[in-house]
């Protein structure tokens, strides 16, 4: 039973980070949840050895926003590029949507507040070797 080593939450809201961290931990298949309060901090983390496999990226942030972060991120070479989930406070505008579609690293758009269901869905979609009892429980429940 594999686990995701690092997941990075990039959001300026402590409440959101706290909530999402709680939800992620509830899946019990993530070793460490890293938190950055803006793009800059996220880049700092990327420079360390703790390379995240999954990034939940907020757009509206002080210092360096999501788009700027992605610009910088694209300059870095990764052996295994992480999955980026764009976290949305509200619906994207058409322009933003186009911009997001043009970036291949952005795999999905999700509402800011995660739920166990969403997380399990993502894990099952992008991390096949990762399995979680909690998720299967949920699946069973849903089914």
């Amino acid at each position: 039973m594999g686990k995701i080593k690092h997941v990075l939450l990039v959001d300026d809201s402590d409440a959101t980070n706290f909530f999402n961290k709680t939800i992620l931990k509830k899946t019990e298949c993530i070793e460490e949840v890293l938190v950055a309060k803006n793009g800059n901090e996220a880049l700092e983390i990327l420079k360390t050895a703790r390379q995240p496999e999954l990034i939940f990226l907020d757009i509206n942030m002080p210092v360096m926003n999501g788009w700027e972060f992605i610009e910088e991120y694209q300059k870095i070479h990764f052996d295994n590029p992480p999955v980026i989930i764009l976290m949305l406070g509200a619906e994207l505008s058409t322009e933003e949507k186009k911009k997001a579609d043009s970036i291949p690293e952005i795999k999905e758009f999700r509402e800011k507040m995660l739920s166990k269901k969403i997380v399990c869905g993502i894990l099952q979609k992008y991390f096949k070797d990762v399995t979680s009892n909690k998720c299967t429980e949920n699946l069973k429940l849903v089914v």
Partner: protein, 607 residues
């Protein structure tokens, strides 16, 4: 006889001298200044005086003065008066009188009358006869006159009616009778005759002397014989002496007369010279007159030429004047036209100005309206922006709240008591509702922003819509039908939302026992009030609860609800969405409704 002749001769000579003196002196002084008339007037006076001198009046010695009368307003009286100052007649001073009427004539010796004053000579003669008055007339008939002066050229001739004069008792000097003209030749002849007579007389006297001497010798021889004869001889001697004295005096007189004659000849020569000069002067003048006549003729010709030229010019002038008249008329017409044109253009200009002003005002108003609309638009946008940002920013904390409540109820819900659990449910409901409201608001603020309208097949939209509402339709058993749906120009999303709202309202607001029936229809209409613009007029008819008249106005306002949430769920923003969508497409939305029977919502979309 001899005495008389001598006397007369004496008179004649003196008259001649005076006449010539006068003629000479006057002629000399006035010849050039006075015209012929002046000379003639003088001559007339002189003639009159001469006549008086050469006629013997029977009662001549009785008068102290010699009186001359002039009949009528004749100017001759002036000339006579002037002459009277210088000359006497028969050694008597001369008095000149004027008579206006023939009757008044009396106490005069000579009467002068000119024919030009129209006195009847016969009447005059009848009046003066027997009064010892000599009538000197001018230009009258010879037969009925005494002495008549006749104008001959620049001078006078005179006629003497001897019979008549003698009848009146006048004695006429033979010289007067003989000389019709006072020509110098005649005077010369007269003189020569007198001289011959003198010679005869002298010879006679010599003969008589010889007779006397002879008789003296006889007397001396007969001294004693005749003493009586002595007295006679003495008388005869005396007489002879007297005669001798007379002859001597006559001789001296003739010598004097010869001297006078010579003087007179000299005077005459000078006079002739003078006349000659005057003749040459006159000739010169004649030449001058001729030349000036020529000149005048030339000038006349020139004048004629000029006249003809003037005639020609007159003709051309007339032509020109007619032309001018024509042109005048044309000009007047033109002026009228121009004036009319000016008037019209002035009117046009005025109306143009008014129009311009009006246009300007209109433009200003339009500009103001445009500015206002711009302002309104920007305010609207601002408002929409505000709504968007507000709802967007509200959403985040709300999400956080509802997420944490979800977390709490999931992880710790079991450890809450009933009140806690209930409270948690209410909070969750409220946050969910708030989330929906915020989303609706967000959606509302986004509506009408798009302008990239495309052709939308409403049939397709209807199909999608029925499939979207499938669950609701199946739940309620509603029948949703549509007919005559067109292809319109607009935003597909918005039109779908519009129809979806109206249809779901139709399903939602129904009596519990009723099976909902919603029918959509569409017809093409022309709005006459708005430039005949064509519209698609949609109608969505349901058999729902209906809307009371008093509420029909406010149902399109945002967040307006007519019913409690318990009865009919919803945010209360659906019809506000509909209104905004229809109006942003340029159409209108309204409804017909009857409570308990159902409602029909109409909206139009411009074609």
């Amino acid at each position: 006889m001899m005495f008389d002749t001598l006397n007369i001769k004496n008179h004649i000579v003196s008259v001649l001298v005076v006449t010539f003196m006068l003629v000479f002196s006057y002629g000399d002084i006035y010849a050039q200044e006075l015209g012929n008339e002046e000379v003639k007037r003088l001559q007339r006076a002189i003639f009159t005086f001469n006549f008086a001198q050469q006629i013997a009046w029977p009662n001549a010695e009785d008068q102290e003065t010699f009186k001359i009368g002039v009949l009528g307003p004749d100017r001759t009286i002036l000339d006579l008066k002037a002459l009277a100052l210088k000359r006497k007649i028969n050694n008597k001073p001369v008095e000149i009188l004027r008579f206006q009427s023939v009757k008044a004539v009396k106490d005069i010796q000579l009467l002068y009358v000119n024919q030009k004053y129209n006195y009847s000579i016969d009447y005059i003669l009848s009046k003066i006869t027997g009064k010892n008055i000599l009538l000197v007339s001018e230009d009258y008939n010879f037969n009925s006159s005494m002495i008549n002066m006749v104008n001959v050229g620049d001078s006078f001739e005179y006629e003497i009616n001897v019979d008549r004069i003698q009848k009146e008792g006048f004695v006429i000097a033979p010289t007067l009778r003989r000389a019709a003209i006072t020509s110098s030749e005649k005077w010369k002849q007269l003189y020569r005759k007198t001289e011959r007579t003198l010679q005869v007389v002298q010879e006679e006297s010599k003969e008589q002397q010889s007779v006397i001497k002879h008789r003296e010798q006889q007397i001396q021889n007969q001294n004693t014989q005749i003493t009586d004869q002595l007295e006679q001889i003495g008388d005869q001697r005396q007489e002879i002496g007297k005669q001798n004295r007379r002859i001597e005096s006559l001789f001296t007189e003739s010598q004097l007369q010869q001297k006078k004659y010579e003087e007179k000849v000299l005077i005459e020569q000078e006079l002739e010279k003078n006349i000659q000069e005057q003749v040459t002067y006159i000739q010169n003048q004649q030449i001058k007159i001729d030349s000036s006549n020529l000149e005048i003729e030339k000038q006349y010709e020139v004048l004629e030429n000029q006249k003809s030229q003037i005639e020609n010019q007159k003709l051309t002038l007339e032509k020109q004047s007619t032309e001018l008249n024509k042109q005048k008329k044309i000009n007047i017409l033109l002026i009228c036209l121009v004036a009319l044109f000016l008037l019209v253009s002035f009117m046009v200009y005025r109306s143009y100005l008014a129009k311009k002003r009006f246009n300007k005002e209109l433009q200003e108003k339009n500009l103001a309206i445009y500015e206002q609309s711009l302002e309104l638009e920007s305010k609207n946008k601002e408002l929409e922006q505000f709504a968007y940002i507000a709802s967007h920013d509200l959403q985040e904390p709300l999400n956080t709240i509802s997420s944490f409540i979800g977390l709490i109820s999931e992880d710790y819900g079991d450890s809450f008591d009933e009140v806690g659990k209930e409270s948690l449910n209410f909070i969750q409901d409220a946050s969910e509702r708030m989330k929906r409201l915020i989303n609706a608001l967000l959606q509302y603020s986004r509506l009408g922003r798009r302008s990239d309208y495309e052709k939308v097949d409403v049939n397709e939209v209807f199909k999608e819509l029925t499939s979207d509402l499938k669950t609701r339709i199946e739940e309620t058993g509603a029948s949703i039908t549509a007919a005559n749906l067109p292809v319109v120009l607009g935003s597909e999303i918005e039109i779908r939302l519009l129809l979806q709202n109206l249809v779901s309202n139709g399903i939602k607001f129904r009596a519990k026992t009723t099976v909902p029936e919603v029918h959509i229809n569409c017809i093409k209409v022309t709005d006459l009030s708005e430039e005949n613009r064509d519209y698609w007029k949609f109608s969505v008819t349901d058999n729902g609860i209906g809307i009371p008249k008093e509420h029909q106005d406010r149902i399109f306002a945002i967040f307006q609800r007519l019913h409690s949430r318990d009865e009919y769920q919803g945010t209360g923003i659906g019809l506000a969405h509909c209104k905004k969508i229809v109006e942003s497409h340029g159409g209108k939305i309204w409804l017909n409704s009857e409570v308990g029977k159902g409602s029909t919502f109409y909206f139009t979309i411009p074609i």
